[in-house]
C-alpha cells in the first residue's frame, strides 16, 4: 500500500507480474492512494498491479477572488488564446519565443501549475474526515481528526517581509478532499498529463535555454566538489587528502566529471541551442495542433483545415527569425579549447572565490568526514 507515491521501474513491475502469473493463488496486489492533480505519481515507469484509489482535492480561497468572466465556448477560447500567444511571439521586446513557450506551459500543462504541487502535500484521509458532515463514527477516525496532519495551505506561515524581518501570512485556502473512485492500475484514466510532461516540458526548457543556464551556473562548483569527493574516497589519511586537494586546486583548470558530462548529454547540451530549439518548436507545434483538433472537434469540417492552415502560415512567417537568435555552437564545446578535436577533454577554470571555498580547511575536513565518519568524534 502506498500513499501519493512515485512509480517504480518497469523491470521490477514485470518481475511481480511474472510471479503473479506463475502463482495466481498467491498473487501480489497493490493499493495506491492518490490525490488528483498530484504530479508525483506521474514519475517513474510503472505501478505494481492492483487498484488505484483517487481523492479529489477542492480548495476554496480564503481571500475573495475577483469576479470571473464566464468562459467563452471552446473554439472561441482557443482563438483568443492563440491571439494572445501570437502577440507574445512576434513582440521581440517580450522575448518572443520565450513568452510563447511560457504560454505553452501554462496553457497545456495544468498538472504543472501551483495546484499540482499542492496536490502532493494534502493529507488525504485526515482532510477527508475533517470535511465529513456527520463527524467521525469510530475512534480511529476521531484520532485522525484530532491528531492528523492538516493541509499546509490551511496553515498560517511565517515568511520573510523582505526587510530582514518576518511577517505572518494567513492561511490561503480551506481545503477538502472527496473520495472519487478507484481504478485498475491497468487502466488509470487520471494520468492524462503524462505525455505532455515528458515531451512539452523539455521542449519549453530547450526553447528558453533553461537547462543551459542551470548547467552553466552550477558546473564550476560541482566540478571542484566532485574532484574533492573522489580524492576523499581514495586517500589513505587526512594529511594525504589535504595535500592532494591543494595540488588539485592550484591547477589552472579541472576536467569535467563523467557524471556531469553524462547529464549534459542527456539534456542535449552536446547539440547547439538552435538545433534543440528547432526540435522543441516542432514538438510544441504538434501540441498546438492537438489543441486545435480538440477545440474544433464537433464543428464543421472546414474549421480544422482552416485552423491548421492559419497556424502553419503564421508559424512559418516567424520561425526563421526566431531561430536565428539561437547559437549554433553546442554548449559543451565551450568547455573545450577552440579548434580542439571532438574527443578533447572538457575542462573548466574555477573562479578564485570557488577555489577559496573548496580550499577552506573547515570545509575540506567536513568532506573528509563524509567518507571517514570514524575519523572524528
Amino acid at each position: 500500500m502506498v500513499f501519493q507515491a512515485a512509480n517504480i521501474s518497469q523491470q521490477d513491475v514485470a518481475r511481480v507480474e511474472a510471479y503473479n502469473k506463475a502463482h495466481p493463488e498467491r498473487a501480489v496486489r497493490s493499493r495506491s492512494y492518490r490525490v488528483d492533480g498530484d504530479v508525483v505519481p506521474t514519475s517513474g515507469e510503472a505501478t505494481l498491479p492492483g487498484q488505484i484509489y483517487y481523492f479529489d482535492r477542492a480548495g476554496q480561497a480564503t481571500v475573495q477572488p475577483k469576479p470571473v468572466t464566464p468562459a467563452p465556448p471552446a473554439s472561441e477560447h482557443f482563438w483568443q488564446r492563440w491571439e494572445r500567444q501570437g502577440q507574445g511571439w512576434v513582440d521581440d521586446k517580450k522575448n518572443g519565443a520565450l513568452a510563447w513557450a511560457g504560454g505553452q506551459l501554462t496553457a497545456n500543462m495544468p498538472y504543472l501549475n501551483a495546484a499540482a504541487s499542492k496536490g502532493h502535500v494534502v493529507p488525504m484521509l485526515a482532510t477527508s474526515i475533517r470535511g465529513e458532515r456527520q463527524g467521525p463514527t469510530d475512534p480511529q477516525r476521531q484520532a485522525l481528526l484530532n491528531f492528523g496532519q492538516r493541509d499546509e495551505n490551511e496553515l498560517a506561515h511565517r515568511i520573510s517581509d523582505g526587510k530582514g524581518g518576518f511577517m505572518t501570512q494567513p492561511a490561503q485556502e480551506h481545503v477538502r478532499t472527496v473520495f472519487s473512485g478507484s481504478y485498475s492500475t491497468a487502466r488509470d484514466p487520471r494520468l492524462r498529463g503524462e505525455p505532455v510532461r515528458k515531451t512539452a516540458v523539455p521542449s519549453a526548457m530547450d526553447l528558453t535555454q533553461g537547462y543551459v543556464g542551470v548547467f552553466q551556473d552550477n558546473i564550476a562548483y560541482d566540478t571542484g566538489l566532485g574532484h574533492l569527493f573522489a580524492l576523499a574516497s581514495k586517500a589513505k589519511d587526512y594529511k594525504t587528502f589535504e595535500q592532494q586537494v591543494a595540488q588539485v586546486l592550484v591547477k589552472p583548470s579541472l576536467e569535467l566529471l563523467p557524471e556531469d558530462l553524462a547529464l549534459a548529454r542527456q539534456l542535449h547540451l552536446d547539440k547547439s541551442p538552435r538545433a534543440n530549439a528547432t526540435a522543441a518548436l516542432k514538438n510544441l507545434i504538434d501540441f498546438q495542433r492537438t489543441d486545435i483538433d480538440k477545440a474544433t472537434s464537433g464543428l464543421s469540417d472546414r474549421w480544422p483545415v482552416h485552423a491548421r492552415t492559419t497556424t502553419d502560415r503564421f508559424l512559418k512567417s516567424k520561425y526563421d527569425d526566431q531561430m536565428a537568435k539561437y547559437s549554433t555552437a553546442p554548449v559543451l564545446n565551450t568547455y573545450q579549447p577552440k579548434g580542439a578535436p571532438a574527443d578533447a577533454p572538457f575542462r573548466i577554470t574555477l573562479p578564485g572565490r570557488i577555489r577559496a571555498q573548496l580550499a577552506d580547511t573547515t570545509f575540506v575536513r567536513q568532506i573528509w568526514s563524509l567518507y571517514h565518519p570514524g575519523a572524528q568524534k
Binding site: 572565490r353 577559496a356 577552506d360
Partner: protein, 160 residues
Amino acid sequence: MSRPLLVLMCTLLSTSCTEKSRTTGSEGVTVDVKLNTKPDLVQDLDQLLTTELKWKPISCPGTQLIPLAPGTVKHCFVSGEEPEALLTRISDLLAKRSQKKMPWRQDAGFWVSDYVVQGPPSHGLLFSLVAPGVSAAMREDPLLKDAGTVAWFIVDNDPG
C-alpha cells in the same frame, strides 16, 4: 531605509549612483557613493551584514590550503541564528542589485550560493553558511560558542 542598505544598493550595480556623492532627500544623510570598486563593495557588505543581520565579524575559523588568488577577499562572521533561517534573508538583501548565479545548495553541511554583482567592474560574490555543530573542531572552538551559524563571503574579480 537604513544607511548601510542604501549604500549597498547604490554601490551594487546602479548606474545612477556613480557620481561622487549624493544626498538623500528625506533623511538628509549624505552618502558618499563611490565607484563600484571592490574595497567599497567589501566594506559595504561588512556594514550591511553587521547592521541588518546583526552578524559579528570574527577571524576565519579555518585556514586556506592554498593562498587566496590575487584580488580575492574573504570575511568571516558568526550569527546567533541557524543557517536555514538566514538563507532567504541574505537573498532578499542582495536581490535588487545583484544576480544570483547559483541558488543555495547544501553539500557536506555547508550552504553555498554564488552571485554576480554587476559593475562596472563586475565582481563574483560567494556566500557560505554552516552550523558550527557540524564538526567537533568548530564545536570546541570557544570563538564559536553560542553561535548558530558560521558564515563567510568571498569576493573576487571574476564574475564568470
